[in-house]
């Protein structure tokens, strides 16, 4: 998507995150990484590869096997002035830490009337489509977005991943960083030598801004993380049939950049939201409700949602049918345009 000089190397998203972590650790000695198998192994996805060697075991901490323990100690470290970046090995294993995240991490700043900041990042490889076994393909972002005090983002491409992880780490508020593991190996040209903009403005605005990744006039597709690529493919495919589809990469799930979203829908009059998480009580619900409230008279069709079914994530053999794939997206586009 980004034009870059020919010499810029192509970097997969996983590597872009590694480099973002590296830049953040170089920029601030208080940044440290914690998680299961993030040291010698470099994480099961190798995202922390090489960091133990360069930053040592005090800053790249292989923790005991306990997610509540990871988050709980991260909170204490943050109180002491550190900036812990916690890796949860897989989406499905974040729930033992749910209490520490929801009740402690999210509320500490409020409880202390702003006296305590919580610069904690929780990295969560999430989503399906990689043929994994049970509990390794879930999309739990909506379960955290309901809770005030947390910020939730999800990059869809290497460049965003590289910049957003640094901004997330620089944020004084806790940030849940959902990494679409099915896109870990998608590459893009990226110069990882230049650290990202981590100014106050970048943290407040850039980190949480949606981006129009393809302009269009007939219908808007809102996506984030793994579904952005699918949405672009759907737009491409629809273009062949003469339909002009705008694609928005939300990038942030809490807060949601409703200004960008509603500006688009005011023009296109139609919105389809795509995410891998189940539709019922998913992000699409909030988006549909709020966009409808804001664009009531502009909407030509109800906001349609494409996502997982009201079912546990199924066995890998049939996950393709569960996921909001290209066909499912196109079907929703057709239905929305048919109004």
């Amino acid at each position: 998507m980004t034009e870059a000089p020919a010499k810029t190397p192509k970097v997969p998203m996983a590597k872009a995150i590694t480099m973002g972590l590296r830049r953040a650790m170089e920029a601030d000695p208080k940044v440290l990484l914690m998680g299961e198998d993030i040291g010698a192994l470099g994480g099961v996805f190798r995202v922390t590869d090489g960091l133990l060697k360069d930053f040592g075991p005090d800053r790249v901490v292989d923790t005991p096997l306990a997610e509540s323990g990871i988050l709980g100690t991260a909170i204490g470290l943050a109180m002491r002035g550190y900036r812990p970046v916690c890796e949860i090995q897989f989406d499905g294993f974040i729930f033992p830490a749910f209490d520490q995240i929801t009740t402690q991490l999210a509320k500490m700043t409020f409880r202390s009337h702003g006296l305590l900041q919580m610069p904690v990042v929780i990295r969560v490889p999430y989503g399906g489509g990689i043929g994994a076994v049970e509990h390794h393909s879930e999309s739990p972002e909506a379960l955290f977005a309901h809770t005030a005090g947390l910020r939730i983002v999800s990059p869809s491409n290497p460049a965003d991943a590289f910049a957003m992880i640094q901004q997330a780490i620089a944020s004084p508020d806790p940030v849940m960083f959902f990494e679409p593991k099915s896109r870990y190996w998608d590459k893009a040209e990226l110069d990882t030598d230049v650290p990202a903009d981590t100014s106050a403005h970048a943290i407040e605005v850039s980190l949480h801004s949606a981006r129009v990744v393809r302009a269009g006039t007939d219908l808007t597709i809102a996506a984030y993380g793994p579904t952005v690529t699918t949405a672009l493919a759907a737009a491409e495919s629809a273009a062949a049939e003469g339909r002009s589809i705008e694609v928005i990469d939300l990038r942030s799930i809490s807060p949601i950049d409703f200004d960008t979203l509603t500006a688009s829908v005011q023009r296109t009059g139609r919105l389809v939201v795509a995410h891998e998480a189940p539709v019922f009580f998913g992000s699409g619900a909030e988006i549909a409700a709020r966009v409808t409230e804001r664009c009531f008279f502009a909407l030509e069709a109800p906001v349609l949602r494409v996502g997982g079914f009201h079912a546990p994530y199924p066995p890998a053999n049939i996950e393709e049918e569960y996921l909001p794939n290209l066909d499912r997206l196109l079907d929703a586009v057709d239905r929305a345009l048919a109004y």
Binding site: T63, G72, G76, T109, S112
Partner: protein, 376 residues
Amino acid sequence: MDAHTAAPDAELVQLITPEGVRVENPTYSPLVAGLTADDLRGFYRDMVLVRSFDAEATSLQRQGELALWAQCLGQEAAQIGSGRALAPHDFVFPAYREHGVALTRGLDLRKILHLFRGYKHGGWDPAEHNFHLYTLVIGSHSLHATGYAMGVQRDGNVGTGDPARDTAVVAYFGDGATSQGDVSEALTFSAVNNAPVVFFCQNNQWAISVPTARQSIVPIANRAPGFGVPSVRVDGNDVLAVHAVMLEALERARSGAGPSFIEAFTYRMGAHTTSDDPTRYRTAAEEDYWRARDPIDRLRTHLVNEGLVDDAFFEALQAEADELAEATRTYCRGLGEPPATEMFEHIYSVPHPLVAEERAWFEEYEESFLPEGGAS
């Protein structure tokens, strides 16, 4: 009398008997050998003051000034004995009835009322006295303390030999809390990191209505060594013994020798909170038994027997205690209510569009109720 009300077994560290008699302990007596009569009077003073405060808060709740109150009645020795062992730069993570510890930290106790009045969730600046906010969610803060201690290690403030620098972290919690997975995880994380943290468990024999025997069939102090954390059981109603074991544990932490676990065997003489009705689950005989073992009486007897106090001391202290109660009452009644817009503040440190939007809506909505032309 139930098993759990039986007199603490002989393995409890004790330096002053329930009869107020000082006893020797080869390990622990030396640790408190340097305490002066002034120190002992100071212990007594703190215990009396916090009891006065606690009683006043209880009565404020009865008067409808507080939503709830959690008394520390009966646990004063455990709290003052341990709290007085701390250095100012040590950091404390209390549960919710550590009013005695708060006193030793120098916190203006009246700020504790904020939480129990429903006025604020917090109420004080944790950094001011290195005393964290109360944590109501049982056990969670044991992990925060452990993480904080891991930060202390990274700051290089352990094992330097410089008493102004070496820092210990303390987590206070109850017997019930030991059943929470978080507390076990805190033991694990502290042990494998050799973190400078002290887990101080006030076993007051009840978790609301549930006796300690429903949380553990062996002494609570046995728990920690299985994680590699040394532990000790102390008579929690003996302020001197508590002080001694706490000094030892803090020194271990600060010197870099790692975490410790203290079980202070005491008794919750009051109800769990003002909402509780202990007559439903324990006998008057049990309460009487423990009332006769009041930790304040024990120290008083000792001080009197040793001739370390006189009437003037008691009178002055009573006046101080009355004054604290009075100041507490006045403060509480004067608190008023915070502005409703406080609920939109400090949810995030960085401006947040949804919060801003909801706040703006709310302010406009509230203004719509003002008498016409009344909005500024």
